[in-house]
């Protein structure tokens, strides 16, 4: 990411000691295996040769993809992306992270501005028409967050006719409308907490993993209730019909499931708040 590099250079010029922590530190030890070889002409070969990859992820999603003052994103999505990059033979400092928001994910993939996207990205048929998905690597589900002392709302049925906060243009918002709730919409989930506190909405509803992050950040004030009432398989977005690359990522995911790297990635990030569940089977469509 160019701007980040500029920022880092500028920071270094200002002799900010604070940044020392983010550049060195926890780069993984190079895997002892010999560098993988790929068939010429494939995306994998191209990326490996360049030694660089651009990955789209969220920058504002606790537990999955979140940027702090160090400037490097962290979270489960980020760890998964790093595993894939590693399998391509690309070191961590060869990764350029780009923030993807819901409005720019598909366009970025289509125009090649990112090589792939790992960003709590729900696989669905409409999206499959413009891009392809590897995975899924995680199964989330829409759930409900309420104030900790609210005992009236126990499941999605209690939301009918009530005001519920979610994010504009997101799948959860559409689900809420279908359910008969009144969606109250904003741009980011952190904005949703104030209406909840003020009693303007009775609940916040989106994927359970996002809600768990919000609840964990505000200890004791909120709770997640009910069982997830939808299935949101998170996939890795890449260019439409790049089947070789898709199969490669699927292979990497399955390998990571088996050798424990997947579980390790989870425990390091989302696992601090959420229990580990067995990964879903990848869908080799």
């Amino acid at each position: 990411m160019k701007r980040m590099r500029i920022a880092l250079v500028a920071a270094a010029a200002a002799a900010t000691l604070a940044l020392a922590g983010c550049t060195g530190g926890d780069a993984p030890v190079e895997s002892a295996e010999p560098a993988p070889t790929f068939e010429a002409g494939t995306t994998m070969a191209r990326l490996q040769e360049a030694g660089k990859v651009t990955i789209g992820t969220k920058f504002d999603q606790p537990l999955f993809g979140l940027v702090g003052p160090s400037g490097d994103p962290e979270g489960f999505d980020v760890e998964i992306a790093k595993i894939i990059a590693d399998e391509l033979g690309i070191p961590e400092d060869g990764i350029t992270w780009t923030e993807t928001v819901s409005a720019n994910r598909e366009p970025f993939i289509e125009s090649g501005q990112v090589d792939f996207v790992v960003a709590t990205y729900t696989i669905n048929d409409k999206r499959k028409e413009v891009i392809s998905f590897a995975g899924p690597y995680y199964l989330a589900g829409q759930s409900i967050l309420v104030l900790a002392d609210n005992d009236d709302i126990k499941s999605e049925d209690d939301l009918v006719g009530e005001k519920v906060c979610s994010v504009t243009g997101s799948t959860p918002a559409a689900n809420l409308a279908e359910l008969g709730a009144v969606p109250v919409l904003t741009d980011t989930y952190t904005n949703c907490l104030e209406p909840l506190r003020a009693g303007e909405v009775v609940a916040v509803s989106t994927d359970n993993v996002i809600l768990a992050g919000l609840a964990a950040q505000n200890e004791g004030e909120f709770k997640v209730v009910g069982e997830p009432f939808t299935e949101e398989p998170y996939g890795i977005g890449l260019k439409l019909d790049d089947t070789d690359f898709r199969m490669f990522i699927n292979d990497v995911l399955e390998k990571a499931y088996e050798d424990g790297r997947y579980e390790e990635a989870w425990n390091k990030t989302a696992g601090t708040v959420l229990p580990f569940v067995d990964p879903p089977a990848v869908d080799r469509y």
């Binding site: 701007r3 920071a11 920058f59 702090g68 003052p69 720019n104 004030e221």
Partner: protein, 309 residues
Amino acid sequence: MTGASVLFDAPGPKARRRSLIFSIIAGVLVVAALGWMFLTLNAPKESGGITLPGMFDASRWDIYADPEIWSFIIFQGVWGTLRAAIVAAVLAIIIGVLFSLLRSAETAWIRIPTAVVIEFFRGMPVLLMMLFILLVGSTGQYWAVVWALAVYNGALIGEALRAGLVSLPRGQREAGLSLGMRPLQSKMLVEFPQAFRQMLPIIVAQLVVLLKDTSLGYIVGYQELLRVTLNNLSSFYGNRYLFSLFVITWLLYLAMNLSLSWFARWLARRGDRRLRPAKGGPLPEDPSQAILVAQANAAARQSEDNSSR
């Protein structure tokens, strides 16, 4: 009408006292309102069965002791904002110059399409333009923000420059032509530099708007001050810091914009002294006021022209 003093009698002792008392009452009311706001914000609040600390409680402000957060806010946020604003400003001025020249062209088939294009850009929300450029042009976030701001503000600056051109005394152009210059030469060498200088404060005022509007880059996920603080950092440290991040963001914007406005005023004063317009009237100190006066002047001249033909 410049001084407001015409509107009321020079106050006598009694009126002065009344005015003073009124002043004091108003002042006390303002201070009381601010104090009440402070106290209300600082009151602890019950929520979800636990008590949240007040907005000015130390626990909501402790993250700022860490220099890392400041380097992030400054080098990612403020720099992200300035980096987009500076490039967009340069482009906007270039586009504005082009627009104003095309818009005041002699030939109708240049003038009219330009007017339509300007009207189109002026009427589109910047948010929509950013999104559109990102999706259609595949430019990446940075250039989507820069181009949207450049085109929109370019259209407005172009209109200001045109008003400046029209408001010039006609003799300037005539003098240029009588010196054997071709119309375009006269425009570029004689009229335009004057219009530009006269409109400088307005252009800078428009640049304040441009700087503020970089905050709309959130729509395409561009990392600037507002997104870095109210989105990234508030997600990272948690919602508890939303208020303090809001206050800090606000202060940073005020600092940036007020320095730019101050610069605009300084330019206006300086330009005023050196290049007092031939007509003699001093340029109003306030840039936004200057544009209105200039527009009114321009319109007046235009209508004079029309009626004399």
